[in-house]
Amino acid sequence: MELTLTSDQEALVDAFAGFLAKESPPQAVRAAEPLGFDARLWSKAVEMGVATMALPDGGAALLDLALLAELVGRHLAPIPFVEAAVAGRVLGEQRQLATIALRPAVDGVARLVPAAAVATAVIALDGNELVVVEGRPLPLAANMASAPLADCDLHAGERTVLATGAEAVARHARALDEWRALAASVLYGIAASALDIAVAYAKQREQFGKPIGAFQSIAHRLADDATAVQGLQLLSRKAAWALDDDPTEGGRLAAMAYLWGGEVANKVAGDSLHYHGGYGFMLEYDIQLHFRRAKLWSVAMGDPRAAYTRLGYQLFSGAA
């Protein structure tokens, strides 16, 4: 076990963190609403190479992508980094902005596909076929989180079958494992920055003659939150690492990291908002941006509790 970033990873993280700090401040995040997409920011990110490096021959490990996804979460960057990375790895190319449906299509329609309101290609599992449908970005399904969700009729565009039968299911499952690991990293980033905001506010805001962070009722909840955030960083990074380096563990860890990441991000963002008192409820304060996005990422695949149940069957039924 070696938890220090390599010098390459450090350089990558520094460059992308500097880029997002400058190009994706809260004003830019707000300006990109309600679509949740900043085309200028995305084209700059593509210029930096963050899209192509995700490709199987792009030279990046999944862990490197996870480190970037953490920063996307931290800065709430309105770019479909995770979607494009996972879709690009399925297609093996990045000539256009592609995304992937997380839930199987019903009656030929993939519903509420992340980034489908800005992408020109959607990958989906349609029955026993893994397909990609190309066309124009689809109409936005306006939502609480200001995310570019859209419904995609899989017969309405230019449809190509990528794989059928068991191969289709396996490739889709592998893509979802990768999505879960990277989504866990985004959730870690959201939680870590919500925690930073909470700690800074608890030091500065005074009530009853002292900073509210001096009250144990707040300090102790923050200690629990900090512990959970640390645990999530470790689990999400281990999941991304394992998908490349320890295939027997990768799927299990990705599922755990994603489910646990959803719980942590929602709790920490909710706690952080709560410590702001009434100010946390005002749109002017940034914490509501985290609060809304934490829920978006954690519910994107459906009920987390049902997913925990499926994970239990997979791990323990002995059938797998």
């Binding site: 220090t4 962070g213 512990t227 959970a228 645990g231 925990y308 239990g312």
Partner: protein, 381 residues
């Protein structure tokens, strides 16, 4: 960055696992259960023969020079095997402090006997009115010529009935702030005036109240400087706070999963969900423990990280012990040996035992103070 264990650690893991399979027999477990003494001399001495009880120490001092990472492997395997480990861990908490702060004579006369597995030490810290606030100890040590006379009472002196020495926290000065009037002693348990009374606990574990009535010890029994006992305590506490219970939770998950498969109840959604949540928390708990070990391995002091590992793992253990009893149902309450009992009564035992994990070795509240003040920089209340 990678999460792979080292070849050295994994070959060591295999060795430890084989050793524990041989030495932690059903008979050992039964004796521990019956007596409540979480220590077995046979196991302890066999570990001492392999230099495992102080494996983190340099070879010149009788250890093996292992890093925190290998030590974490040893801890994980002890938990997974359900091995009794209190005698060893209490002894080493005190011995580490003596190694740092003791006199040459103490190091020469006590440490070799500890490392050979001959003797145990116990901790005389808590008092009836001093639990988490151990610096408010009132047990008095008064100088009398070249010796000290000790009077007072200590709570939860676990293993005192097996130990050769109590590592005792006393008050030597009442005229200064509480942290600056404390002195540590190493008191032989056969000293006249020392008495103990057993205390039986919810978890089945036996502990003791120890009484000190005009216990007279020479000045050579003092550990560290007069009135500087808190400095010695801080060293000891840094070892004590490092316990992570992740592997213990993992053992429960494995036993719960075996039960669910054998009975077919894994098919029930609420059972599958509960096991998956417990397995996830066990993974996080073990990662936090490994992270703390890795920080130590990198040569930094792991205090906030150790607190996070202890806090999360002990709280998760309490939570999931209760949840696992719930999914199994009233059968989980049956004692080992009762017809229909589940997993040798492990779940009812874990449910009773786990509550103390969030209390001793730094209560959850103390750990949250450490994390919020030293980790997050929040002001003291």
């Amino acid at each position: 960055m990678n999460f792979a264990s080292t070849e050295r650690a994994e070959s060591f893991r295999a060795e430890v696992r084989g050793f524990l399979a041989e030495h932690v027999t059903d008979e050992v477990r039964r004796r521990v259960e019956e007596t409540g003494t979480h220590h077995d001399w046979g196991l302890h001495r066999a570990m001492a023969d392999r230099h495992w009880i102080a494996a983190s120490w340099p070879e010149e001092y009788g250890g093996l020079g292992w890093g925190p990472w290998e030590m974490n492997v040893l801890e994980e395997e002890l938990f997974l095997a359900g091995a009794p480990r209190d005698g060893m861990s209490l002894t080493m908490t005190a011995t580490n402090a003596i190694h740092h702060a003791g006199s040459d004579e103490q190091r020469r006369s006590v440490i070799p006997r500890v490392l050979s597995g001959e003797i145990l030490l116990c901790l005389g810290w808590s008092e009836p009115d001093a639990g988490s606030d151990s610096a408010s100890a009132k047990t008095r040590a008064a100088r009398d010529g070249g010796s000290w006379v000790i009077n007072g009472q200590k709570m939860f002196t676990t293993m005192a009935h097996e130990a050769t020495y109590v590592f005792l926290l006393t008050r030597t000065n009442t005229e200064v702030p509480k942290h600056r009037g404390l002195t540590m002693f190493l008191v032989p348990t056969d000293t006249p005036g020392f008495e103990l009374q057993p205390v039986h606990t919810l978890g089945g574990e036996r502990t003791n109240i120890t009484f000190y009535s005009d216990v007279r010890v020479p000045d050579s029994a003092r550990v560290g400087e007069v009135d500087h006992g808190w400095d010695v305590m801080r060293v000891a506490l840094s070892y004590e706070h490092g316990t992570s219970w992740g592997a213990h939770l993992e053992r429960l998950v494995q036993r719960g999963a075996a039960w669910a498969r054998a009975t077919g109840r894994i098919e029930e959604p609420s059972v599958a969900e509960r096991l998956a949540r417990a397995a996830t928390d066990a993974e996080v708990a073990m990662l936090l423990g490994q992270y703390s070990a890795w920080v130590g391995e990198s040569g930094r002091i792991s205090d906030v990280e150790a607190s996070m590992a202890k806090l999360f793992s002990s709280e998760a253990l309490v939570r999931h012990s209760g949840e696992l009893v719930d999914v199994i149902g009233p059968e989980a309450l049956l004692k080992d040996g009762q017809p229909g009992s589940v997993a040798d009564g492990d779940f009812e035992h874990a449910y009773r035992q786990s509550v103390v994990r969030t209390i001793y070795a730094g209560s959850s509240e103390m750990q949250r103070n450490i994390i919020s003040q030293r980790g997050l920089g929040l002001p003291r209340g």
